[in-house]
């Protein structure tokens, strides 16, 4: 008896785990049959989830929280029992802007140095003709929050010194080319597409802003999670197995070819390979560079939905939506992430399960051993580039630290 789940997704490399779970038979091993619905906007991925066309979806973590809080649609509680990955996005400038901020050739820039140069350029452009414009994939995306976090920390006020607009990933290269935007924060393969067309240069990876920044989640309606709990737990186990396969260098090429297929990403396998091997070409014609953990899909229990990640996202929502902090909303936001489901799915499998469900984010400057449900697990550096750390026990205090 096999259970069937329908999964919605957008053609991005970080939709890899559900796809590979199906393609390599890990889902079938768990008694699960998966089918996929591919869309071209997050709005449609979300509507299909809300109106039952899909059971679960590849989704921007902040969008799952925003939906629960009723920011774009009347509130509907969503649940995220699995983080599909950390980071995997790049900040890419038009060649003109990259030159103006002295982005180095052949390596990623230093976030602070680039940011300070950008602050100067942003003011020059604002007084000259028009403000610099950046494209992000969605208002409620980690891309938006990472970009804003970085800009603000470097003295560039988002919405004041620079404009930030929504641009769908497939049109990012066009928008850079026709000058609609000067820079973008977008997931792969879309920065690489801009690089190949000679209309963009990758200047930073979001992992440089927050080394372990939460990105997409597997989201579902809370009620659907309750109804399909067994299937969801099977799905979590299948995706963990897919993750083991995904990070093994021996499988990179084959997985890039699978993801490239028309029914999935419909993109070039060479460009997909760059992201999954952490080897990026920063500017057209230059040699690839190796930036470890550009995408982070598996190690260190990367898929564990830390409650503190949801809380960090909520603080950024408060910060940038201009709505006051509300402790009740904070609780609702927190409950979107469901470590209890993740734990129950993997109990007894021998997989790593952290001892706690919340942690101070950004506090690890180096590799640290922390307690796991059995024994210890090792967490590597998890810092924010500006040296701040996020204490989930004091959200108002954290937010107050930004209001200067």
């Amino acid at each position: 008896m096999s259970e069937h789940l329908i999964i919605g997704f957008l053609p991005l490399v970080d939709a890899c785990l559900p796809i590979l779970a199906a393609e390599h038979g890990f889902a079938a091993e768990e008694g699960l049959e998966l089918s996929f619905v591919r869309d071209v906007s997050w709005a449609t991925v979300l509507d299909r989830l809300l109106y039952g066309h899909s059971d679960a979806a590849h989704m921007l973590a902040p969008l799952a929280i925003a939906t629960t809080l009723g920011r774009l649609r009347p509130a509907q509680p969503l649940a995220a029992p699995f983080v599909l990955g950390l980071n995997g996005n790049a900040i890419t400038f038009s060649p003109e802007l990259a030159a103006a901020v002295d982005a180095p050739e052949g390596r990623l820039g230093d976030p602070l140095a680039i940011g300070q140069a950008l602050a100067v350029e942003a003011r020059r452009r604002a007084s000259a003709k028009r403000k610099l414009r950046f494209g992000v994939v969605h208002r409620y995306s980690s891309h938006n929050y990472m970009l804003r976090y970085w800009l603000a920390a470097c003295g560039v006020a988002p919405d004041v010194d620079v404009e930030i607009a929504t641009v769908a990933p497939p049109f990012v290269a066009d928008a850079l080319e026709n000058g609609e935007i000067d820079g973008t924060c977008v997931g792969e393969p879309w920065s690489s597409v801009a690089v190949e067309r000679g209309v963009g240069q990758i200047v930073l990876a979001t992992a440089q802003i927050w080394r372990r920044g939460v990105e997409k989640v597997l989201a579902m309606r809370e009620s659907r999670l309750d109804e399909r709990r067994d299937a969801v737990e099977a799905m979590i186990r299948a995706m963990r197995k897919a993750g083991t396969h995904f990070v093994d260098p021996a499988n990179w090429k084959a997985n890039a070819a699978i993801l490239a297929a028309p029914r999935y990403l419909d993109a070039s396998p060479e460009l997909i390979l760059r992201a999954i091997s952490d080897r990026l070409v920063l500017a057209r014609g230059s040699a690839p560079i190796h930036y470890p953990d550009f995408m982070f899909q598996h190690r260190e229990a990367a898929n564990f939905p830390w409650v503190s990640q949801a809380e960090w996202l909520y603080t950024q929502m408060v910060r940038w939506d201009g709505v006051p902090f509300d402790p009740r909303e904070a609780v609702k936001a927190t409950r979107v992430f469901r470590p209890d489901v993740y734990r129950s799915a993997l109990a007894g499998t021998g997989d790593l399960l952290p001892g706690a469900s919340s942690k101070v984010e950004g506090s690890l400057g180096q590799t640290t051993a922390v307690s796991a449900q059995q024994g210890t697990m090792v967490l590597e550096q998890n810092s924010f580039f500006d040296g701040r750390s996020f204490d989930p026990d004091d959200l108002p205090g954290y937010l107050a630290g930004f209001s200067s």
């Binding site: 869309d39 071209v40 906007s41 997050w42 709005a43 449609t44 509507d47 299909r48 109106y51 039952g52 066309h53 774009l72 649609r73 009347p74 994939v137 969605h138 208002r139 607009a165 929504t166 641009v167 769908a168 497939p170 049109f171």
Partner: protein, 193 residues
Amino acid sequence: MRIAVIDESASRASVIREGLAQLDDCEIFVLTERQGLVVRIQEIAPDVVLIDLGNPSRDMLEEYFTVSRALSRPIAMFVDESDEETIGASIDAGVSVYVVDGLAATRIRPVIDLAVRRFGAFARLQADLDEAKGKLAERDNVDKAKRILMKNRNLSEPDAYAELRRKAMRSSRRIAEIAEAVVTAHDLLGDGE
């Protein structure tokens, strides 16, 4: 009522327009271009916006609507909690609906009902067309397979067809499938004609 129909498929947009034209007191604007979409919407100042679910500009548009809450005519997705069915039907048909704040649900519903019917009709037309194309391709394959058998096994046309049919019945598959297999095998191994 001013209705904007955003659809990159010009043929579907005209089917929708034609449907909505039956409504009284409605002015309909069709937007098929992605470039400058937001500016056009601002100029039109619609009361209702219909956009197909497959349109890649939806997120950009929703961003604009969110920002537009500060404007005099805020627009939001139509979600009438008393009428989940209407919205579900529109999503099923592949269209999402945004309305200007304050517009009565009773005025919106006929628009959605018509749009849903027209989207449905267009999808059926498309399916019929795909099926017709498929049928043509199948017939073409059967003809090719017959010619291959006639040539390679010296059969008459009726015998070649009988052979395909016999094989199909024995393996409980369709004649078209057997024909496709014959053509594929012939292409792979074939005499390169």
